[in-house]
Structures are given as structure tokens and as C-alpha cells.
Amino acid sequence: MPDATGLELIAQELRDTLPGAVLDTLHFRGEATITVERRQAHDVLAQLKRRGYSFLASLHGVDYYPEEPRLSVHYQLLDMDAVDRICVKVRMGLEEAQIASVFDLWPGANHPEREVYDMFGIVFDDHPDLRRILMPEDYEGYPQRRDFPVGGEPVIFTYNEDKIPGWTE
């Protein structure tokens, strides 16, 4: 992990080349996080990749409900030579839940981005195959959102199958 100073240096580098991209930096429990503006996220990630953080370790979504802007995509980047990690966080509201795909930078972002789309409804522009991945293709709603209820799935038996919409046509 870069220390607090190292994180500020990286943030300053990003501010110099991409004005307005870096919104916030945070050093917490030994982990470095940079919050980035949504439309410039792809450029920031591309620059960090060139800088050495060339391995996308994890990509996941978070719902900060009831905070605003509530949705977020986290990119956990890893520098395998310096053994260094940095987290890039992109916050977005429900009505602008759209971000450029990083599939062109890391082909391995394919499945994780589909999962975030599936669970949070965040649309990844220019993703080659943006479909639901874990939930059924005709599923409605985004189950990992914090306001999505738990236990709302009806269990289908013979006696109630005709009462469940979309099951028997």
C-alpha cells in the first residue's frame, strides 16, 4: 500500500494530467483510496495502469444508501512489482448510473462488470456483452441494492404455480 504521502503524490500526478478528475483521497487502515469523477474514471485507470498498477485485482459495486450519491464502483488495482495496492472509487447517483467499461484495459473486467450490472444496475458503456450473469436473464430489479427487500421471492409449488406471474405464461 502506498503510505499517506505516496497516495497524495499519485493524486497530484493525476490532478496535473487530468484536471478535475480526483475528488478525494483517503488513507484508512493502511489502504489507499482515490475517489474519482465518473466521466474521467477510464482515463484515470488507464494512467494508473501505465504507472505500474497493471493488474485489476477486483471490481465490485457498493450501495451507500441512504447517502448520496448512493452507488459506487470500486476498482482494486495491484502493482505486482512494487507489491502495492490502490483502490479507485467512483461514486454515482441512481439516475446517472453509467460508466465507461474498462474491458479494453483489462479483459478480465468482463465478468465482474456484468456482476455489478446484474446486482446494482450500473451500465458499463462499450462492454462487449452486458447481460445479467448470476440472476436469471428475465429477472427484474437489482438485488444487491440496499433498498431491495430480502425474502421477496415466492416459492413455486404445484398449488400456487398459476398464481405466480411470468411462470406459466
Binding site: R29, D63, H74, C87, W106, P107, H111, R146
Partner: protein
Amino acid sequence: MTALSDYRRREESVTYSAEPAGMGLEQEMMTVNMGPHHPSTHGVLRLILTLEGEVVRDIKPVIGYVHTGIEKTAEQKAYWKVIPVVERMDYVSYYFNAYAFCGAVEQLLEVEVPKRAQYLRVIHMELNRIVSHLIWLGTSCIDLGAIGMWWYAFREREQVLDLFEMSSGQRMHTRYFQVGGVIEDIPRGWVERVKRFTRTMRHRSEQYQALLDRNEIFLQRMRHTGVVDEQSLLGLGVTGPLLRATGNPWDLRKAAPYCSYEDFRFRIPVGTTGDNYDRYRVRHAEILESCEIIDQAIDGLPEGPFITEDRKVALPPRHELATSMEALIHHFKLVTEGFRVPPGEVYHPIESPRGELGCFVRSDGSSKPARVHMRDPSFVNLQATAAATRDTYIADLVATLAMLDPILGGVDR
């Protein structure tokens, strides 16, 4: 000419070109559905194959058949009740799931884990790594038509499960790791049995080697099949034995030691070409290295508490409840509400038998996590299937899939 070499001659004459011999120009692609209930997909994995003759031209994995919403369930439970739920994600490496989660919560709480607990965790995780590799070896060999190997691998697995049962009362999904340490100290006689097991395991793995390493059929199916180069694997996010088989020695136990791994001497086995044979050799060698780590941890097992003394996090010992009002209150608070965790978020990566297993936990200050996400290596590594099997035979696809070792419980969560 023997039948075998004749087979090889015919095999060499087969061309991988877009126009298979004798099929003419108008060869059509055929789409075949494989799975979800197929014996060689290691769980409920469905593959949609585009075939040209017997050659795979494209492959699309379809997953989600065992998606149970564990990450959503975890948000409804107190931190200590999440442990048994996340253990069921990647159901053959449950100790790793539990540790990834506990480690993340410990990082948020800034709790100090006693040295003895760390060593006990290492012993259990390495035993679990051996189990995981044994299951992989056994089931992979079934896919290759060698059922004998399965009986041998599961015989050894059974011994480890007995050890787990002895230390925690359960064979699988043991809930042995707790936030701050482990639930119980090991019983008397356990150490000797572990030592006896590592001795047997070393001997057995030599026997496995004698059985497989010079087996003509095994070598034909393994060598030069399913090759993916290092750079493509890194781009796809693949870690673990698959990456090490290409010669990249990335292993988090060495690169960024956690849980006292820096105390042990062990080597990282690497391959050269990244074919299925290298993947087999890397995992086979890892079994031996795990035995090495277990022996060192047993020999150096420090005395002391097995769970943190912080009463706000860990349950007080049973005898204190009878004498101390304070202990009773702590016990009541912990089993009803659970402990609260300061707000923040961490990502805690560890080296599972399949690669980087990272647990992301976000806390909002309450006693339940606001988000738990597992970066499961199977889910990410599965993306390498297409790269490893495109333009190979469908028979090689089965072998390669076995060597990629995806666990569908971890893929779907």
C-alpha cells in the same frame, strides 16, 4: 507399428485449419450445449460451445445456477454470524473464505490476533489447501478416465477431514475461525495426528507421482494442451496455480505475508509453459510445500491465548460467566447484538488454493456489515476457459476445464 503410435500418427495428421479434411468448403458451425448437469463441469456450469467438427471455435460459460445471494444474506447478519455463511461460498476451501472475512473485520476493528491463533489458522488453512488440491486431483483424473486416482485422493482427504472434526467438531464448514482468533484450542493428541498425516501425505504424493507422471495416456492428455501465456492470464485477472504454471511466482503468502506466513520457510512451485501438465505439477508440488509449512507451524506452535482477550470482540471463557458480572454482560451483548465495527471499508486479499481471494467489507458503524463482497478466484479464473480451449478438441476442453479447477459455489456465491 503398435496401436498407440499408430494413433499418434493419425492424431498428428489432423489439421486445425478452418476447413477440416473431407468436409468441403460449406462446413457449418454447430452450437452444442454442455451442462449445467454434466459430470465433467465440476458443479453446475453450463457451456455453450460453437464447434466445427470436433474443434471448439468459441465457448461461452453460463453461470448463476447455484447463486444463493450469500453477499446479500451477509448484510442481514451480525458480523460473527456471517462466518458460517461465507464459508459456504467456495465449499472446498472453507477455511480460506472464513479467514478472508475475519481478516477484513479484524483490520477494521484493529484487533490484535494472538500468535498461537495465527499459527493454528495457518495449520488449518494449509490442511485445507491439501484437501482442495486432493479434490481437484481426484475429480480431474475421473474426467480423464482414471477413477483409481479418485479413490486414493479421497482416502487422504478423509484423514484431513477427521483432523478437522477433531479440532472443531465438523468435517466441513467448521466455523473454526472467529474474529480475533479461533473458537477453541486444539484437543490433546491432535498435534501428533497432524504430524503423522503430513508424513503419510508426503509418501502418498510420491505414489501419486509414480502413478501419473509416467502414465502415457495422462501425459498425452496433459502436455501442450490448454496453454495460455502469462500476459493473457494477467490481463484476465487470473492468479494462483494457473498463473504460477506459466512461470510467474506470484503468491500472496510470499509477496505480502499475512497471518505469520513470514515465519515459515517454503518454496513457490512454478511451471514453464503454462500447459495442463504444468498446472498439475504446480498443484502437486504445493501439496508438499503445504506439508512443510504445517510441520514448521506445529513445531513452532507458541503457547498463549487462542483468541484475542478483547472482551468487546471475543466471548469470555465459560468459567468466567459464573463469577464475573462483567463477563456475563459481555457475553449477553455479543450473542444478542454482536460487536459493533467502526465505519470504513477494507479489502483483505489472501492466497486461496485457486488464487487471490479478496474480501471487501464495508461497515457503517452498526453490528451488521453494510456490504460484503468476495473476489472469488474461481469467478475470475473462469474467464480463461475460452482463451485456453479455443481451437482445441472438445476432449481437451474437458481436460482443461478440470485443470482450471473452478468451484461453482465460489463462482456463483
